[in-house]
């Protein structure tokens, strides 16, 4: 997986959280920003990379500022990164352990 996928996955989950906060369904959000429900699902899952103006529309509908929805390097935790980029549990464990060990000294 590429770095971008981690970004869009994070972005998507932020959108989902914000949507739930204002008690909207994917369908009603889709309607308000002129997208299909499938597109909204894909955006929330990080499978689709959305256009900037769409992001602005979504933020407006969800009543949050755009910045809240955009992942920054500081907020993507190492743990999330490992989960997104590494498939096997053993490899995940290997990386986490090494990361913790390096933290100790």
């Amino acid at each position: 997986m590429t770095e971008n996928q981690a970004f869009y996955k994070d972005l998507g989950s932020r959108i989902k959280t914000a949507r739930k906060r204002v008690l909207l369904t994917q369908e009603s959000l889709a309607e308000k920003v002129s997208l299909t429900r499938t597109t909204v699902t894909n955006i929330e899952k990080g499978r689709q990379q959305l256009l900037v103006h769409t992001l602005v529309d979504i933020a407006k509908v969800l009543n949050v500022s755009v910045e809240v929805l955009i992942p920054s390097q500081q907020t993507t935790s190492i743990n999330d990164l490992i989960n997104v980029k590494v498939d096997s549990p053993e490899a995940q464990e290997f990386i986490r352990k090494a990361y913790d060990m390096a933290d100790r000294d």
Binding site: Q73, K85, S88, E90, F94, I95, A98, Y99, D105
Partner: protein
């Protein structure tokens, strides 16, 4: 984007010079540590050979290596991850699996594939620098190069696998496969 051959050779040779390394074997681990990278060794029952993790928020980088592999392989992995560290700054976490280093895997995009090739070339330039090889092969005849033992002995001096040395000599035009 094509492989940045010149840039890679320059990067590796500058690193050797700044570390005062003038002969084989090149200790890639010491070079990495000198750059502030931590190396973690762990035995993992898996095809994973190593990884590079960059924690930008805390200005920290870690290279992890699987000690299940042969020591020559471990050295190559460290040099390979060091290549990613120096050449591919956009990437925060990079995981290398055993065969991915040589073969293209179905999922990998063209960009990823080129990153791998660059990291491999960097590892070769660092562990088997052209100047060192030239000096070692100065008085060697073409006939000697065809001996299997010769390449194996040379690989032993550089502490790399015979396979890695064979690729390198081919890349530098000393042998034809």
């Amino acid at each position: 984007m094509a492989i940045r051959r010149k840039h890679i050779r320059t990067t590796a040779s500058q690193l050797l010079r700044s570390n005062g390394i003038e002969s084989a074997p090149v200790e890639a681990d010491k070079i990495a540590i000198g750059l502030g990278i931590k190396i973690q060794y762990e035995r993992v029952e898996e095809e994973i050979s190593g990884f590079l993790l960059r924690d930008l928020s805390r200005d920290k980088a870690i290279i992890g290596v699987n000690t299940k592999h042969h020591s020559n392989r471990i050295r190559f992995t460290i040099a390979h991850e060091l290549g990613h560290f120096l050449l591919h700054e956009h990437e925060k976490l990079h995981v290398d699996k055993r065969f991915m280093i040589q073969l293209r895997d179905e999922k990998s995009s063209k960009g990823e594939f080129e990153d791998e090739k660059e990291a491999n070339l960097f590892a070769a330039e660092l562990l088997m620098p052209i100047d060192f090889i030239q000096a070692d092969l100065e008085d060697v005849s073409e006939f000697d190069l065809e001996e299997d033992d010769f390449i194996r002995d040379l690989a032993d001096i550089y502490k790399v696998s015979s396979q890695a040395m064979t690729f390198r000599l081919q890349y530098l035009g000393y042998i034809q496969l």
